[in-house]
């Protein structure tokens, strides 16, 4: 008879049910896990994105921590302002968090992100990446992967899916010389929470990249959100690693499953030919190899 398993992640909830996220929303889990790790002494800034709508209409909210809604591109600036005010007021032991989508981080929010990182703003920036402008209806962003259908990269007769590569925000953040950056997955909550807790105790600018499966946007079964997130890691498409004091450290190597296992669960890739899937496989393998090499060489 097996022993009753204990919970592997903190039990206390900092999100209320009743958020207006879609059924199976990955972003809901990103917030849930992040707040479990950070606790009550947290202030969050959220720009225009799915999460600006998910807490619901005024006067309702779904977070147990204070929340500042801001303009779309302003997250980096808002967390700078929050931290400055808290510092001058002598408020200690507070985690300032900027919680933004991929569009609000790698596209329109990139300038403010870069400024906040360069100024060594004492805050955690969490990018929940659903790989498109989902809140406005699935338009492509700089974070949309090669091969994906979106409403602005429709297939049509020109086979016009996204032909540009996903912007590598982790490398961009590494180039800013920040003390800590990490990728996290909703399929691995223990790793997620461990990394957030580690980030919490570091001073300076910390960046976390969470892959956030989106059932309507990725054209997938909402019940498979965790499965898809797991495959993203196992196929090496979204490896789990940290960049700690500038050094890469892979935290979960992933089994090395063929990318087709991940792609076939999502309608947004259903138009891809075998050759195109192969090219994705090649690119993913090359990138993962480079990641391991960087880890080995200590860069």
């Amino acid at each position: 008879m097996a022993l009753m398993p204990t919970v592997t992640i903190p039990e206390e909830e900092f999100t209320y049910p009743g958020s207006t996220g879609c059924p199976g929303c990955g972003a809901n889990l990103v917030m849930r896990y992040m707040l479990k790790a950070l606790g009550e002494r947290t202030i969050i800034s959220i720009p225009a994105c799915c999460w600006a709508v998910m807490p619901g209409y005024w006067p309702v909210g779904c977070l147990r921590v204070p929340l500042l809604y801001t303009a779309f591109e302003a997250t980096g600036a808002a967390i700078s302002g929050l931290r400055a005010a808290l510092d001058i007021k002598g408020v200690e032991d507070v985690t300032v968090v900027g919680f933004a989508g991929d569009g609000g981080t790698v596209d329109i929010g990139l300038q403010a992100l870069s400024g906040a990182a360069e100024r060594r703003t004492d805050a955690i920036y969490m990018m929940y990446d659903n790989e498109a402008y989902m809140n406005t209806g699935i338009q492509r962003s700089g974070s949309t992967p090669w091969g994906a259908w979106t409403t602005t990269t429709p297939i049509g007769t020109t086979h016009g899916f996204k032909h540009e590569f996903k912007k590598d925000i982790m490398t961009i953040m590494q180039a800013h010389g920040i003390p800590y950056a990490a990728t996290v997955s909703v399929a691995h909550p223990e790793d997620f929470i461990k990394k957030i807790r580690k980030a919490k105790d570091i001073q300076g600018f910390r960046f976390v990249h969470a892959l956030s499966p989106c059932p309507p946007g990725w054209r997938m079964n909402p019940a498979e959100t965790i499965e898809v997130a797991k495959l993203a890691v196992d196929t090496h498409i979204f490896p789990l690693y940290e960049i700690d004091q500038g050094k890469i450290h892979v935290t979960r190597k992933g089994k090395g499953v063929p990318v087709i296992e991940y792609l076939k669960l999502q309608g947004r890739f259903s138009h891809l030919t075998e050759a195109e899937v192969d090219s994705i496989q090649t690119a993913v393998d090359a990138r993962y190899k480079m990641l391991l090499e960087k880890e080995a060489s200590g860069t």
């Binding site: 097996a2 992640i9 049910p17 009743g18 059924p23 889990l29 849930r32 309702v60 909210g61 019940a223």
Partner: protein, 90 residues
């Protein structure tokens, strides 16, 4: 119900919890737990995006007022003791 301008704060400041929002009304399929088979591993609780599963004495209880019927709990359950049933059949 539209509030009079006099009753409003200066700017929209939210103070009520979203538990006022009964997202269970969205559901078209619902999870049904076979308690006999349940080993209380808490994986379903862990992966519910809406925190709509509570742990009561270590046992998962799905709060149907909020459950949206995404099916993650059923998919992830190692014992396969949660099945998704259509609302109009439940």
């Amino acid at each position: 119900m539209t509030k009079s301008y006099e009753e409003l704060p200066l700017t929209p400041i939210s103070t009520e919890p979203s538990t006022l929002n009964l997202t269970g009304l969205w559901r078209v399929i619902r999870p049904v737990v076979d308690k006999e088979k349940c080993k209380k591993c808490k994986i379903c609780w862990k992966f519910c995006p809406d925190a709509a599963i509570k742990l009561v004495d270590g046992e998962p209880v799905i709060d149907l007022r909020y459950c949206k019927g995404c099916g993650i709990c059923a998919f992830e359950c190692p014992q396969k003791c949660i099945i998704m049933v259509r609302e109009d059949e439940a």
